[in-house]
Each structure stands twice: as C-alpha cells, then as structure tokens.
Subunit: 261 residues, 2 copies
C-alpha cells in the first residue's frame, strides 16, 4: 500500500530536505521515525527538495509498505509522537499506487517573506532588509515573470536539470501590516534557487539599484552565468503542491480522525 | 551616567526576564554581556518582568556606569556582538538620571497572538487553538475591559502587589490573513498574568463556552480566587513602553549611528 503525508517543517535546524550522510535533514529524520514505526527501512519520496534553511507548510511525500497496523488516516498522529517539534505531519492518507508525490505534481506554490522592520521573533523566517523598497516597482517586476519562460538566468549554476522552461501561473507581492512584504508564486515547476534568485533581483529593482529592463533582460536572454542576487533561504517556504483531481490525496479523513470535521 | 536600552527578545529559551539562580533569564544574559563590556558588574533595571516564554519587541531597561568608552548611541551595536541571536538591542541612548525604566513608565502595550490554523513556523509565538472562535464576541468582550477597573479576578494568586486598579486605554481584537487572531491592549500598568488571563477568558466567551455576563461578573466582582483560564505564555509579547515626553529616551541617535536616517 502507498501512504501520502502532508507535512510542515521549520527548516532552520536542517540541511534541507534531501537525505545526506552525516547531516541532519528533514527526509533523514522522517525516515528514522518511519523505521521506528514499521521496524524496517522505509524510503520516503518528497514532492521536491528544499534547500538548507528553507521551510515548508505544505510539503507532500509518499512511501510504500506491505501493511500498516496503524490506520492510514491516523498515521500522522503516530508519527508526530516520534518527531521533533519542528517537523509536524498534518495529515496522512492511503493513495493509489499511480500517485507519485513528485512526478504526479502539477503545480507548486512558494511564499517569500521580507521584513522591513527588525523583529527578533521572525529572525529565522524572514529576510530583514534595512533599505526602503518601492512596492509598485516590485509589483511591476513580478508581472514580467508570469507565463512560460526559459529561467536559465535564475537557476543555480551547478544544477543537473537541462529543461529550463517553467510556466508561472501566479507571481504577486503583498504588503502586510507591520511592514512585511510577501511574494507569492505558483508554477508547474521550479529550478534550483529560482524563487530566491527572482526575489533577490526583484528587490534590486524595488530599491532602485537596477532598472526594470535589467531584470527583463535576464528573462529575454537566458544565461546560466548571468549575474543575479540570491535572497537568503530563511525567507522561503513551500506552501502547496497540487495534483490532478483523480490523484489528489484525501486529507479530510485525517482531519476527521482528530474530531475536527 | 545613565544608559537606556530598547530591546527585543524571543522568550522561548528563557525563564523570563528576571534574574534567577541557576536559570537562564534575559536579564541574566544581558548583565553578563554588560560585565564583559565594562569589566565589572552592572545592574540592569527593566520596565517590568516578563514570564517564562513571553516575548518582547519593545522592552526598555536602564543601567548606570561611571563612564562608557563606547559612545551611548553605539552601545547597542557593541552589546549585540556579545549576545545570542534571540536577544537583540535595537537602540541605546544616554538619559537623564531622573529617568527610570520602570517607575517613569506611563503606558505599556502588549500583543497576544492566536493561530486557528496549525503552522510549525509560529509554534513558539502563537497559541494554536483548534476550535472556531467568534470574532464579534471577542470584540464585544474586549470593550468591557476598557477603562479603570479592579482586575483582582485576572491576577496570579501568588502576586505581591496590593494595588489591583489598572486603567486600560486600548483593548482590541484584529483578524489577520491566514486565520490569525491578535489582541492588542494598552494600560498604565498590568498585574501578574493579567493579559494571559484576560485572553484565556475572552476566548472562552468567543468559542461560546462562557456567556458574556460570566466575563463581566469577573470584572464587577473582583476576586483573587476567581476561576479563570490562563492563555499560554508563548502567544504574548511586550510591544511598547511609553514615557512622559520630557523623559522619553532619544533612540534616533542610535538609528543614525547605523546610517539609517
């Protein structure tokens, strides 16, 4: 049987999602908990990797087991008891074996948060910038990202990917109370460091250091060696992974198991 | 000379503000940094104590030294280098010896934050409640708190204070995006556990467990043995301490010292 998990983590204390030798990673900690629960190694597949220090509020992962003594809709509760407080499973569900957390995903959403006022409580979750940023310049820059583009200029040079085309369905800036700026972006796929590089460069435009056309040129002339600014990992969070309706895991059973619905 | 500090802290890792034997406290860590800077013990006086796990974004404290090699408006930078990342000095200024961080204070403002959706990133800064709360009932309850009252019913039983009268100038609930509820309150003074008890009881009304008049009765019949609910410490933050204009420390020099203004 195949089990899908909906999970959140505070990436501050982890060397990213992906399991690594001699590093504490989210996948590593989760596989340890699964081993404790099932008594044998269980490989976990995430919808995508997140970098060191990047957070997730809507990561999806799946694994296969022969059988589960714990009912699928209650696995999340059992796992949470074995996990540190900075990783929380929100829901669990049995899914069809056609479902694959990574390959079935159709859309991914990220949020990037910036604080323009110092706040010690947000120090691991926001990029704190001390200079003023023009909201309307940020908004205009974001409109250029919308649609299908070759994002080579906004990709980590050491990546293994060759397909650089992403289709961006949403790219918007919001201003919250307390001087917080939030960038929300949704696409079919993202390249390595793409959101952080987009945010880093948009902020250069927003603060007036770059002209708008310098940003546009990076999109029009895809160049993996382009000079770009990468915003810090800590401001980024994976918010949602969307699947086709026929494959979408049913998280509501897990909510009901808690007595919520 | 007397130096005033404007400071922030994440209270998660501390046994409150007040120095204690064999416990890590904010005051204790700050006095250690001051000793390192001045080479002798320097006693620090805060505007008020905060409980274990309570945060501050606008705490004020002062200390006296014979002389300071570091210019007053740059002390905050020097101290930050000796402090852990969860305590940040935002500004420092020389003040008149008439100024006293606690006794000169005229108003104090607190915020209490509640999340109605689980969010691992806010786990140490919000009270997470799983039941629905009626915003208009919260708002109505808050109006009853306004003005001068005997808050005996909302005071920790073990307190040493005898004056139970507080004058509340602001008491308002806000609903932010993402299902966050925020209570903002300002008064001339607060009793021990007062904000947490007010919030705990207002939420009982908001969720429909208490009638409005049960809350009102606690205000009309001051009783230090009243049955009240205390909201968790982690949702609370001291936001601002206000002083009379003639005593108000001038934090702008510190901002200028950073090249901001």
């Amino acid at each position: 049987m195949r089990i899908a998990l909906l999970l959140q983590y505070d990436g501050t204390g982890y060397h990213g999602w992906q399991i690594q030798l001699e590093q504490v990673t989210v996948q590593g900690v989760l596989e340890k908990a699964l081993k404790q629960m099932y008594g044998c190694h269980v490989g976990l597949m995430g919808s995508g990797r997140t970098d060191s220090g990047v957070h997730a509020l809507g990561q999806v992962a799946h694994y296969d087991v022969d059988q589960s003594d714990v009912p699928p809709e209650k696995i999340w509760m059992a796992l949470n008891r074995m996990l540190p407080k900075d990783i929380r499973i929100v829901a669990s569900a049995e899914v069809n074996t056609d479902f694959h957390s990574r390959f079935s995903a159709r859309e991914r959403s990220y949020q990037y948060r910036i604080n323009t006022r110092q706040n010690v409580l947000d120090r691991n979750m926001r990029w704190y910038i001390r200079y003023p940023v023009d909201m309307s310049r940020l908004e205009t820059t974001a409109t250029h990202i919308m649609g299908r583009h070759d994002f080579s200029s906004f990709c980590y040079a050491g990546t293994e990917t060759t397909n650089m085309i992403c289709n961006v369905m949403e790219a918007s800036w919001f201003k919250n109370r307390d001087g917080e700026l939030m960038f929300q972006v949704k696409a079919d796929r993202f390249l390595h460091h793409m959101v952080r590089m987009l945010v880093g460069c948009m902020v250069e435009v927003g603060r007036g250091k770059w002209q708008m056309d310098e940003f546009q040129r990076l999109l029009l002339n895809p160049d993996r060696k382009a000079h770009v600014i990468t915003a810090p990992a800590k401001g980024l969070a994976l918010m949602q992974v969307a699947y086709p309706p026929e494959l979408q895991p049913d998280w509501t059973q897990a909510e009901r198991a808690m007595g919520k619905a």
